[in-house]
């Protein structure tokens, strides 16, 4: 059923996508540049924000985007890129589902001579250009904040995303680097809540039963889970004893930081990533040189600087 719906959606998308560029073709040789975009998962809030930013940038610079949703399937993603190649798009933007499994998409585009820009996450194969942020850094910022608040001494628990996903692995790596630097910080328990708020509520409730009096901080690898942990801790009336930090700076988390409920989150710039990805793709399509890697830094969001982020609070992430 899913595939069936998708193919209908795809054919609609192509019906809309193929015919439009041919219209200006008739009038003159200056048709708008067409950029094929394959997104990891449009059911994800961060990716939705990324898509919005790309659409806005494309509109501004008169480009045409054909946006496909790979629905987390690298196989679909490769097929979508194959279709873009067959359509002879001018450039491709890939928001990879997986490090390894989405790599063939990059290889095929390069072999066909079409420039390809990876946005937000990496693939094993080197694309023409990459724009994103280093996930390790987000966890490093979060853990350093916790270490600072606890003066390097305390018991923490970590909520992981889907085990084995690039973001989970990298955020874990970043967190462990900081833990290694602070021998006084002890990892009491770690478990996956699969990026999911409801699962995080349940997990936190269970942790409060076992380790309730000992936990001094929670690091959740995304804000959805941080919000879930926060709800469970508030329900148990223990928020004054436990620091909660997430990553992504989704709207809810920004609001919670502003209201003094959540201690901190880490901002990743979806608008910046999406906008730059489209600019890079457009320049590559015009055969102009671009920088190979554009890194957009993360920023720690706490009560002190939260006002700066309230406006742009539409950028969460949970691959």
């Amino acid at each position: 059923m899913k595939t069936c719906l998708l193919s209908i959606a795809l054919s609609l998308c192509f019906a809309a996508g193929c015919h439009k560029p041919s219209e200006p073709d008739k009038t003159a040789g200056s048709r708008p540049l067409v950029i094929g975009v394959s997104l990891m998962n449009m059911a994800n809030e961060y990716i939705v924000s990324l898509n919005d930013a790309m659409a806005a940038e494309a509109k501004k610079s008169g480009l045409q985007l054909i946006v496909n949703d790979a629905q987390r399937s690298p196989e679909k993603q490769v097929q979508q890129v194959e279709t873009f190649i067959a359509e002879k798009v001018d450039a491709i933007i890939l928001n990879p589902c997986e490090v390894e499994a989405s790599s063939p998409a990059v290889d095929k585009a390069l072999a066909a001579g079409i420039p390809i820009v990876n946005v937000n996450s990496e693939t094993q194969s080197q694309p023409t250009a990459f724009v994103g942020s280093h996930d390790e850094e987000s966890a490093r910022l979060a853990l350093e904040y916790i270490a600072g608040r606890l003066q390097g001494k305390g018991e923490i628990v970590i909520m992981h995303g889907y085990m084995g996903q690039a973001a989970q692995i990298k955020r874990d790596r970043g967190a462990r680097e900081v833990l290694a630097k602070h021998p006084g910080l002890h990892l009491l328990a770690e478990q996956t809540a699969e990026w999911d708020r409801a699962k995080a509520v349940t997990l936190m409730e269970n942790w409060l039963q076992t380790h309730g009096e000992r936990i001094s901080a929670v690091f959740a690898q995304n804000d959805e889970m941080a919000m879930g942990a926060l709800l469970a801790i508030e329900q148990a009336k223990k928020k004054d004893q436990i620091i909660v930090v997430g990553v992504d700076a989704i709207g809810d988390a920004i609001q919670a930081v502003k209201n003094g409920r959540l201690d901190a989150t880490v901002f990743q710039d979806a608008a910046g990533q999406g906008g730059i990805a489209v600019q890079l793709a457009s320049r590559l399509a015009k055969k102009q040189a671009v920088q190979r890697e554009t890194c957009i830094p993360f920023q720690l969001v706490t009560k002190d600087n939260v006002d700066k982020f309230v406006k742009s609070a539409t950028t969460p992430r949970a691959p």
């Binding site: 719906l5 059911a43 708020r197 409801a198 349940t202 039963q209 959805e224 539409t314």
Partner: protein
Amino acid sequence: MPCPPEPETTASLAAVVGGWLRRFGLVLALALIVAALGLAKPNFLTSSNLINVARQISINGILAVGVTLVLLTGGVDLSLGSLVALTGVIAASFAHPGDFFLVVPLFMGIAAGTACGAINGAVVTRGGVPPFIATLGMMTIARGLAQVLSGGRPVSNMNPDMTRIAGDVAGIPIPVVILACVALAAWAILANTRIGRHIYAVGGNENAARASGIHVCRVKMFAYTFCGGLAGLAGIVLAARIATGQPNAGIAYELDAIAAVVIGGTSLSGGVGSVGGTVLGALLMGVINNGLDLLDVSSYYQQIIKGMIIIGAVWFDRRNARGS
């Protein structure tokens, strides 16, 4: 707990024990697991943790009670998880502070669930589409609708009154009270009403039921609609619990609900089963979940252990049902 009353055995001790096991095999399995967890982790048997477990099973319990009726008719409902997301998003959209009275989001959530359930029922009965396919279609439609309505983003900024639905009253979590009411109502329907008896009859033998003048369509419509309504209720409870309407919530909840029903002794082919068993099944799954978290078992092993316990519990139950 197989539902049709067993003929009274007046024979040997073995037969008495066998009959007892047949009725209470699941209770015994649950007691064994609880005892084992209590020994392994003293925190498990504290009243605060037991209340915690009760709160955690309530959403799965509500869904499982609803799908019990559908499974009893010999059908299945795969759309539950998506309905939870859709109704949660709808309820949350009407639950911004100062917008409406609390009854509006509650009504909208339950109404949306009931409507989707009725569509499931109509597609199955009038359209003759197999339940697996009909509800699989609804599963993706409802998920898509939830994403369309929410724009793919969580619907937040919830009225605190709404989040109180997931809170406690006199130390007892309100979701647990809701589950208890739902289970009692479903039990009363199945045990004491004509439609309840007809549900068993349709699941037992559809042709015989039709021949004896039962409106099979009407019975099935009732089961799917009731199940959809309860999915709406579960969606509201979940939205209240996580203080948002999440378009991605509830993925695979239908499978947990069906597992609870089957662990509870309801036959996947219909006609045999009970709401009491379903609640026990949900409890068993909740206890395992909570116990494994308390024991800090790695999530990789948790999945393996949960799968084995689900199969083992049903195996144990069915062996005793067959044996003696």
